[in-house]
Symmetry: C2
Subunit: 321 residues, 2 copies
């Protein structure tokens, strides 16, 4: 059985093989730039691990794994326009390095190329893969739209927030695992189980993201924390605080998240102090662990060797950056 580290190698080699050396270069260079940046390659690795877990040949999972990684990178290119994000993975975003129009177009092209990649799969899996990509893509758009809505929406419930991160982040984790299961010819029941497992892991993953943004060790995190606070992002930490805090503290927090004239460091310290007062770190960890437990209980019902899937899931949840 391949280990996570070996599959990471395999994924990286496969990504290196992708060629975007075409014209017009203004369209393809941003694609090559984005695809070569690395990141954790978590999603394609999950496809390979799931394929292997269900007894498949990991080579068969490489096609959907690459396609879903391409799709993921397309969403990042477009998201960065919408969020006006200048930096991702420590380097300039496409939107910033080139311009907005190029980011729209190169994203669109990469999205097409993700579909084109799928055509290299075994024909008996094509309908399933295309449908999975469609369903995921539409869901991710819905999630991103909800996220945009939240910016101007006065009241966001925790349920709404969870639904947003489910769509925007978690279903893609589920889809990557399911793609591996399909490639391994796992039965429909197991495909659905590993998908659900992935969705729960994805929810925990996003809550960890929310947590790290406030509580990460700056050395390990590699960047200054507090980005979400600076941008008034309604994360789980923020919404949970509104739920449990006194009326006065809730009001205070709302004020911090609507004012624009407070110095970043002061705002971060003040908001973090409110979070701390209500033990939000522990409450978020509790929520995260509840999803992780749900994920594990699904995995327990799958009678295949899930050592490596479990290992990577733990790495996802216990990460410090």
């Amino acid at each position: 059985m391949y280990k996570v580290e070996e599959l990471t190698e395999l994924v990286n080699r496969e990504i290196d093989k992708l060629s975007f050396d075409k014209t017009p270069k203004e369209l393809y260079e941003p694609i090559a730039y984005t695809m070569s940046q690395g990141g954790k390659r978590l999603r394609p690795i999950l496809s390979l691990l799931a394929c292997e877990m269900f007894g498949g040949d990991v080579q068969k999972a490489l096609v959907p794994a690459m396609s879903l990684e391409m799709f993921h990178n397309f969403t990042l290119i477009h998201d960065d326009i919408m969020d006006k994000a200048p930096i991702r993975r420590g380097v300039e975003t496409v939107y910033k390095k080139w311009n907005q129009n190029i980011a729209i177009l190169s994203g669109d092209a990469l999205f097409s190329l993700a579909y084109e990649k799928l055509l290299a799969c075994d024909i008996e899996h094509l309908v399933d893969f295309i449908h999975l990509l469609n369903e995921t893509a539409v869901g991710v758009c819905e999630g991103q739209q909800l996220d945009l809505n939240f910016e101007s929406q006065k009241e966001v419930s925790i349920d709404e927030y969870i639904e947003m991160i489910r769509l925007k982040t978690a279903i893609l984790i589920g889809a990557c695992l399911k793609a591996g299961a399909i490639a391994a010819n796992a039965d429909k029941k197991h495909q659905d189980m590993i998908y659900e497992y992935g969705v729960f892991v994805g929810l925990a993953f996003q809550l960890m993201d929310d947590l790290l943004d406030v509580y990460a060790d700056i050395e390990k995190f590699g960047k200054k924390p507090g980005g979400d606070i600076r941008e008034n992002k309604k994360t789980y930490l923020y919404l949970k605080t509104l739920e449990v805090a006194s009326k006065e503290d809730a009001e205070l927090l709302r004020n911090y998240f609507s004012s624009t004239d407070i110095e970043d460091d002061i705002k971060y310290d003040s908001v973090r102090a409110i979070f701390d007062k209500y033990n939000i770190k522990a409450l978020t960890e509790e929520k995260m662990n509840s999803y992780y437990e749900k994920a594990l209980s699904i995995l327990d019902q799958i009678s295949y060797n899930h050592t490596e899937i479990l290992r990577i899931s733990k790495m996802i949840i216990n990460r410090d950056h």
Copy 2:
């Protein structure tokens, strides 16, 4: 044999059946809005006509016809962001009516839905349809990128311009016809011939567009001409003038296209006067007709009844709006 008018009816009924009544409404309303606007529905009608010409059942062509119409509408939503266009088909663009982020996202979702639509086709055509959509989508992105490049590119040759409109506009016409041929199980040779026919018709179609923008009868055109001149668009008329005009007139034209402080009507009249001096209307018609002749010579080699395909092609070329 169905007539163009009957197939238009069929296409409109099929589009009415598409439902985008989902949430979040901020994502789906712009899609429903765009898809319901009408326009000429030229592209899906071409798919049906090609299918029928090759002896197929038009019902089989409805799936790719709808998919390609959805794809076309997706490109319009994104193009309007890039061109900052406030109006299309006489109504506000998605970008203008909602906002840019919604236009990016609803476009992305519609693009996915175009792929999802294809899954309703007969399984034996799926690979061909998906590949056709991918190839067309990537080509259209390349064409749009070339168009964006031209804005800041000092010298654009006529060959470069033709390659741009081939990618941006003509290959989709070719793809619509080819999709109909695939649905009719036409052989590969005929699929390619009707595609090439469509590309030539598409080139003529775009040159007619360039012409109408300057020379249309305002009553029939429904809007004030001169939009391309106002936006300094390097159309065929502009590029051909630079080729044939005296050094002085070429310089004058360049100046009009780089200055920003001339009143619109004065600029239009002045540029049109230069075009007229060099008989650019006739020269553009000549180029357009040369493509149309090439298209017809391909059609002549196809020994199926092409009465209706010919009729709609003539309608495209001889249109006044």
